[in-house]
Amino acid sequence: MPMESLPYKTTPTNWKRWAWVIPYAGLALLILFIPLPLPFHAPQDRLLRIEASSFQFTPGEIQINPGDRVTIELVSTDVVHGFSLDAYGFELKADPGQTATGTFIADQAGVFRFRCSVACGNLHPFMIGKLQIGPNLLFFRGIALGLLAISAALISVRNVSRGTT
């Protein structure tokens, strides 16, 4: 009884029903990737003193502007900790009593996590802080995409209800 080959279909798909997907996908890509102008702030030198203790950075959330020249002073207050900033390849390690200092230019905008880079106990993998450089465009893009998703859902269902389902 089994047939010899795949594929097997009970009903053909009505692909026309899904034609709206193409412009929507294009729009979604546009929303995600279109370059947007950032508000300009004159770059400034910033000295950030960050205290690392098990298992948090203080301050844990920092906002700066793109182009700023950032000097991080990492102060460990209990055991050896590290500071590694996503996407920047910037890392510091500090023993208690021995402040580590490093400087970088905040030339990439967005929100970046910084994490402890020296194993410091069970919660070490989750010792995380947040550095926001300029406005968080990805968050706003996400909200715009959400609105697009809802309108896409409306269109997809309207088209479906005209179809056979």
Binding site: P2, M3, P12, R113, R115, F126
Partner: protein
């Protein structure tokens, strides 16, 4: 709806029919499971150097959410080793179909304990103790051992896979989201089944399902026992469009709504603990028994049992008012639980991308030194880098959340009479998606 029946390919059918491929996979996962328990108990107490932590919480947990469920529904259940020892006893053999050869009382699971309530409760417990379980190899091992022993003990008292059906939190998780998955097991020709008196498939099913009555993939563990015993080759294993069990006519129970809400709350709280910059929250979740932990547990339970259900009930109540039929609120709560399925699935996928992509570097070191005893079996690098979230991973997380919102909105619209009626559910999904968006990329 379009379906692609895998059993129509002789090769695929042979693979599914034979007990050997699945048996071998399960034998390997069983050995792996036992090794994991031993590694957790005997190996390094440093989580990143212990096979148990990395393979359970990074490799397997990620594979479940990114591969097994979205591409195979309950496919993990089909190779899960946990029921294996119990079934050996129940069936009197390891390569045997269900029968009367084995030992065990074979009692039916009590009616009051049916449904996914206990599974949801188990998932809440995982969340409440998650920060410790996730980081302590010993606790992970003890939990796994407890699960293995519990499943074995229950299989001696109750019939079939009672543990999987009613207790296993992962079974609940997989079952809920398998409704959105692209795999289903169904009968080919209902007339053949109707004419078949012996119901060998029902007798053989470890899950207690009758394939002819199977409308949802939530309760089918894809074990293929029915396919093996069907005298008429009337069982199909279909590839299907995602979300096929979700629609205006499918049946849903109120416990699915509860399970779905618990999953949403867990994703929210896990994101806040493990991905957020709030150190005190992490410590509170970790220091079980401390006053801070009770605060955390209270906040978690209020989110999971108060705020989210409250919002959901509110949305359903509003949807109910906008509808023309006078469905009871209880019925609507069950009906609209479908909205929570794609929302939850995609949110968990986004969370997993954020959580696990950073930590994949830990996998190779524990392959080469599973117990953290300083071995180097494969000559690989012995310590993992810090890991980082890439911009690709961030965009992917946003994309997954967007798909989740689209999908759940679409389900809400499809199961409502009017857009107006779907609007409160869409608003609920939007609010939740935005909260996750803020936690993941905010």
């Amino acid at each position: 709806m379009t379906r692609l029946d895998l059993t129509r390919s002789p090769r695929a059918l042979a693979l599914l029919r034979s007990r050997w491929p699945q048996f071998l996979l399960r034998a390997i996962t069983l050995a792996g499971f036992i090794f994991t328990i031993l590694a957790g108990l005997m190996g390094s107490v440093v989580g990143s150097h212990n096979f148990a932590i990395i393979f359970v919480w990074i490799a397997w947990w990620t594979a479940l959410k990114l591969a097994f469920i979205p591409f195979g529904g309950r496919s993990w259940c089909s190779i899960c080793p946990i029921p294996m020892p119990g079934e050996w006893l129940q069936n009197g053999g390891i390569l045997q179909p269900r029968g009367s050869m084995g030992i065990g009382l074979g009692k039916r699971w009590p009616k009051v304990l049916r449904g996914t309530w206990i599974q949801a409760g188990g998932f809440l417990l995982i969340g409440l103790f998650g920060a410790l379980t996730l980081t302590s190899a010993k606790i992970t091992a003890i939990v796994l051992l407890f699960i293995l022993v519990l499943a074995l003990a229950l299989s001696l008292v109750f019939e079939r896979r009672s543990f999987c059906n009613y207790l296993c939190p992962i079974g609940g998780f997989s079952g809920l989201y398998a409704q959105a998955g692209p795999v289903e097991l169904r009968v080919k020709d209902t007339d053949i089944c109707a004419a078949h008196i012996e119901k060998t498939c029902y007798t053989a099913c470890p899950w207690g399902q009758y394939p002819l009555a199977l409308k949802s993939s939530a309760n089918c563990g894809l074990c293929m026992e029915c396919l093996r015993v069907c005298p008429s080759e009337n069982i199909a294993v279909n590839l299907r469009p995602w979300g096929s069990d979700l629609g205006p006519k499918t049946k849903h129970r109120i416990d699915e709504a509860f399970l779905g809400l618990v999953m949403l709350a867990s994703a929210l709280v896990d994101s806040a603990i493990f991905l957020g910059p709030w150190g005190q929250l992490k410590s509170a979740a970790y220091n079980i028994g401390s006053p801070d932990w009770f605060l955390f547990a209270g906040a978690f339970l209020i989110t999971a049992l108060g705020i989210l259900p409250g919002l959901y009930v509110g949305a359903t109540w509003a949807a109910n008012r906008f509808g023309s039929t006078n469905a009871s609120l209880r019925k609507s709560l069950a009906h609209y639980s479908q909205v929570l399925v794609p929302l939850g699935l995609m949110v968990w996928i986004a969370f997993t991308i954020s959580f696990a992509f950073v930590k994949f570097g830990y996998v190779l070191p524990v392959v080469t030194d599973p117990l953290g005893w300083g071995w180097n079996l494969l000559g690989l690098t012995k310590s993992a880098g810090v890991g980082e979230t890439t911009s690709f991973s961030l965009v992917l997380q946003v994309a997954m959340l967007t798909v989740g919102l689209f999908w759940s909105s679409r389900v809400a619209l499809r199961i409502s009479e009017t857009i107006r009626q779907a609007a409160p559910l869409i608003a609920f999904s939007s609010l939740f998606t935005m909260a996750m968006l803020w936690l993941l990329v905010g």
